[in-house]
Symmetry: C2
């Protein structure tokens, strides 16, 4: 008999009333009466299991002496929503049994390879809230140190892709694009209409910004709702061939969001988990052809071409075993693409490119990636993809398709560039000396744009007026800052004056040694 | 300029009012208004720094739309206590800067050795609440997988011992005893009076039970308050030479408690952390001579004698570098010591032994460990320690000293055995067949005792009437269950009948193979 069963002894099942608290706890938390809890051997941070009819959930315990009386249980919003609870409901709670995945995590910690069912169990226990942040972190740290075999990556990808909803539009081929660590929201917004106009199926799920000035979802949201459900996504795609939506609003590869929270502080992207994270989302939307943009160079996630190539190789091999065809383009990631930074400003770039003008680098990059998918799916003969992409732009077909998609997602398909809500407060940053632009820093651009209010304030951001290689003259405009309020504009200007300058002019003296 | 400074941009310092909530959150948590927080780029689980005058603290964010309005901040009990806040106070909050220790933890993750200041920084950031559970877990997992060098163990021990209060009684020699994974609360309670009676200084800090039926502190608490402060501990020891108190009530080696929370789910005792954990507490009370009881065998933490010896060697070497003298006795841990299991029942054993009778094994083990300390400190010549210990018992000096210590800690020094509050509800467990006792299982004993209500109900527990090797007859009493209520007694009886039987009789057939 397992000794851990003893846990059940000290906390009898007891029926309590629900008292719903309007607190989003960032986790599943419940409130118990301090005295009652401790008498039952329950302490803060203990985990218990809640039952109401068929609904079950796991929650972490907080204690109070005043807010909740014995016999009552305080429920925070996440738990109330999950278990469909309201004030006065009766529920059962008891100690949680030890999750089997803890043994599997320990196994990986000890350097062993996990079997398929063990990996699936870890993801299942994660989704059932059986794993604490600490336990999940132990898993990710172990994977980082010990690594994952190709088999384990496959199991993990399968498990994550099955951890949420699956999108099956019943059509082929379904294409997708992914950029590793790039700042390319606008590229997606240019590509999707071209691909859709060509008759390929492209249900593009994207993310909101975490640290950048605008995620693809933030930018698209300027034009149409992106927080739509999976059924609506299916409708839009079946009607127009494409869509650009917020993946977070759907329940696709749901486990990945939980894993990402832990990886972030250490920038832990153990290769296996990165691959599983990306590929699980592609699998969940039914993609069969994927083009990956892998930018390298200064400011990009990966600097070394050899490292990039090895990652690309893994991507292709692993996705093949998952019945997906992937090709990887290693691109130059040291420069920003386009001129706008911020949701609405990026939309301006997108519309201009689809109208046949706009920033050349944005047009070219979008066509190169689109071309790859055309050739992979046989839409175009080898080498003919780029011309096909350009033709769809220049004929206006990509632009009408874009407007169709916007309308179909619930936006105003007839919106004009002048109507795009860029911030009304503007400030020009002037060059105080002449010189050649040596580098334009993506990270600093993001930070300034965020200081101005992006992405929450959709009109905020920057518009560049120079790029690497340009010769600028004292007095010319380097870039403009846009904001939706005077105070935010000031805040961003102060940041720039405080030293956050994204434009590096060529130096004569690189360093001095004494 | 470090990119992370950008964190400061999106959350201006703002003054908010404090609204104290009566919730013990098991961590440092604050409540912000949902809309206001998100506008400032703050999400659930974000960490922010709070300032009020000189008081600073770090807290994790929860969000609400109703309970706290913009401009207000909801404070849970831990934060309110830490920063000395009350309703209506104005405080500043802003994004937290990235803790330097994250880089050090990453360094260990990557398999490198840490320098002294890096280890100290991790403990400092831990104590300042800069590290989340996930980040702390990443550190402990990394230490488990990568190991610690002897130097790192020294640095860690120093850092943990300095993380809280230090006890300096200004006397020598200060002796201590530690049992690794044993169930020996009563041994401590017998040893301390003998050591004190001999004139050694023994400020014994002990823990409460986590999974056992009674920690030393729980048992001592039957006789006297154990939750005293460090100043009072010093007084008691200077007056009587000894004390037995609850370490958790003091702030000694404070970082250790935080580390233990993370180690527990995986039973992670990476050797280096175990040593640092134990030795830091000895250092914090100023011990210079330590005897370690290392039980091995069935049911004990360590089964292998070689492993035990290696651990013992590390203990001795590391403590020497910390200016402590340690000796280790490897003992047989497969049997319970004494007859009582549970706070009051163990006190009965202790008093009986100090009166010169009582369970022989308890008397012998206590004397053996005490003898070692006598010889280490020169109180007794080599080989003469055991006799000295026995004499202090048989002369009654240890018993009077015990009564003195109880009185000095605020208890009733004149308490009689008959007054000890063992549970009034009793049930005898009768042998249903004859046989020789093969094994008495410590873990199952603990679980039954806890089912009966120990350690929270001090009178609850078990009293054994047989030990390994005894021949028992059908109808004889194997052990008794004690409880403070009928319902608890029933609960424990049901547990026993459900299969939790601690007494294993010798089997004729060990196994059968088909």
């Amino acid at each position: 008999m397992s000794v851990d069963k003893a846990e059940v002894f000290n906390l009898k099942e007891w029926t309590t009333k629900v008292k719903a608290f309007d607190i989003i706890a960032g986790g599943h938390i419940i409130l118990l009466n301090e005295e009652e809890a401790m008498q039952n051997g329950v302490y803060p941070n203990y985990r218990v299991e809640l039952h109401k009819g068929k609904e079950r959930g796991v929650a972490v315990v907080d204690l109070t002496s005043e807010l909740v009386k014995p016999g009552e249980i305080g429920i925070f919003k996440e738990v109330a929503a999950d278990l469909k609870l309201k004030n006065g409901d009766k529920i059962h709670i008891h100690h949680i049994t030890r999750p089997p995945s803890l043994d599997h995590i320990k196994k990986k910690m000890d350097g062993n390879s996990l079997k398929r069912d063990e990996v699936h169990r870890i993801i299942k226990d994660l989704m059932d809230n059986y794993l604490s942040q600490a336990e999940l972190s132990a898993f990710i740290t172990s994977v980082y140190i010990r690594g994952l075999t190709d088999d384990e990556v496959i199991y993990l990808t399968e498990a994550i892709s099955q951890s949420g909803d699956i999108l099956d539009i019943g059509k082929k081929p379904v294409v997708d694009k992914h950029s590793i660590g790039g700042v390319t929201g606008r590229v997606t917004m240019v590509m999707v209409p071209i691909l859709a106009a060509a008759g390929l199926w492209v249900p593009k799920t994207s993310s909101r910004s975490i640290t950048s000035a605008a995620g693809t979802a933030d930018a698209m949201e300027v034009l149409a709702p992106v927080d739509i459900g999976i059924e609506e996504l299916k409708e839009v795609v079946l009607k127009t061939n494409g869509a650009i939506v917020w993946g977070g609003g759907m329940n696709l590869a749901a486990a990945d969001d939980k894993l990402i929270q832990i990886r972030h502080p250490f920038s832990l992207d153990p290769k296996g988990i990165l691959l599983a994270s990306i590929l699980s989302k592609k699998k969940a939307v039914g993609a069969d052809n994927v083009v990956v943009d892998l930018p390298i160079g200064r400011g990009a996630k990966i600097q070394d071409a050899k490292v990039a190539k090895a990652l690309a190789r893994d991507f292709i091999d692993i996705s093949k075993r998952l019945d997906m065809r992937t090709e990887v383009l290693i691109t130059d990631g040291s420069d920003p693409i386009g001129t706008g930074i911020g949701p609405a400003l990026e939309c301006v770039d997108v519309f201009k490119v689809l109208e046949g003008e706009g920033p050349r680098d944005l047009r070219d990059k979008s066509c190169v990636l689109t071309a790859k998918l055309f050739e992979m799916t046989g839409k175009a003969k080898p080498g003919a993809g780029f011309a096909m992409a350009e033709k769809l732009i220049d004929s206006g077909k990509a632009l009408s398709k874009f407007r169709e998609i916007i309308e179909s997602q619930g936006g105003n398909g007839k919106i004009r560039i002048d109507d795009l809500p860029i911030g009304s407060y503007k400030h020009e940053i002037i060059a105080d000396k002449s010189g050649r632009v040596h580098h334009v820093d993506n990270k600093i651009l993001s930070h300034l744009a965020r200081a101005a209010g992006a992405p929450i304030e959709k009109g905020a951001g920057l518009r560049l007026h120079c790029e690497r290689g340009d010769k600028v003259y004292k007095g010319s405009v380097l870039f403009e800052i846009y904001a939706e309020s005077e105070s935010k504009l000031d805040f961003a200007i102060k940041a720039y004056e405080g030293g956050w300058n994204p434009i590096e002019l060529q130096k004569i003296v690189l360093d001095s040694v004494k």
